[in-house]
Amino acid sequence: MMCEFLKTCCTDPMKIIGEWLVLLPAIVLLLAAAASVVMRNLIHAALCLTLSFIALGIVFIALGAEFVGFVQLLVYVGAVAMILVFAILLTRPEQLTKSGTLFSGLGPAGGALAGFASLVVLLAFIFTSPVAKKPLPAPVSAPVAAIGEALMGDYVVALLLIGVLLTAALVGAAVLAMEDKKP
């Protein structure tokens, strides 16, 4: 397999690069997500999460959905990660406070067991289902014009509903986080 890998490196490196363009950010994504979940310091966890968002955005771009990848970078890295960091700074969890622990009632063993169980079930489905045994089609692309026409054409109701939802979330978050005015 190594000889084949080296042979394709010399003749058709673009294929190797095309595959590893998806796999390398995916590995970074998984490592960053794992680090983010087990970290003690919240800010470090948030920064690892930002790294995993960036890696996920690169995976999206490598899969051919460039618009979604850029939207992921813009929304998640530029907005969600920042608001997460702001919330951590505003709620300053100084050391491990009254209830003292890093882990909640279920404990690290319980959570890990649940996660592992769900992983086993999912992997079992993935590797035995006939739906997932598909060959790789030709590279696809999602041109922005087509996305725009779809949004304004077939999916316009969903677009308007998302607008209403985002407005409601904006007003709700602002009202919730406002300081109580002293009477």
Binding site: L29, L30, A33, S36, V37, L42, A45, A46, L49, V59, F60, G64, A65, V68, V71, Y76, V80, I83, L84, F86, A87, L90, T91, P93, T97, K98, S99, T101, L102, F103, S104, G107, P108, G110, G111, A112, G115, S118, L119, L122, I126, F127, K133, K134, L136, P137, A142, A146, I147, A158, I162, L165, L166, A169, L170, G172, A173, A174, L176, A177
Partner: protein, 102 residues
């Protein structure tokens, strides 16, 4: 690069998110886990879109866009609630906010 590898990556990411939600006590860590799970779902959508017979219909792509928008809205409202809870209860650990426990 098969569909199974992509789905496996998404499943592992989902498992990490689930572990974070179930085992961490800080509410913000739970929110981080939720974001990881949503990211895994988006990866799933785009993996199936990539391998679909009709990628020009853009169903997976649009689903992922809407999912990102909803995740952002939910993160904003969730964090506003966490800030409010911190203001009242002086703590964001979920074990400290159990006044409704029967």
């Amino acid at each position: 690069m098969t569909l199974q590898i992509l789905l496996a990556i998404s499943a592992i990411l989902f498992a990490f998110g689930l572990t974070a939600v179930l085992s961490r006590s800080n509410a913000i860590m739970i929110l981080i886990g939720i974001e990881l799970m949503l990211g895994a779902a988006n990866l799933n959508f785009l993996a199936f879109w990539r391998f679909s017979e009709n990628p020009a219909a853009l169903v997976g792509v649009l689903f992922a866009i809407f999912s990102i928008a909803i995740a952002a809205a939910e993160a904003a409202v969730g964090l506003a609630i966490i800030i409010l809870v911190h203001r009242k209860a002086r703590s964001v650990e979920v074990d400290d906010t159990n006044q409704l426990k029967g």
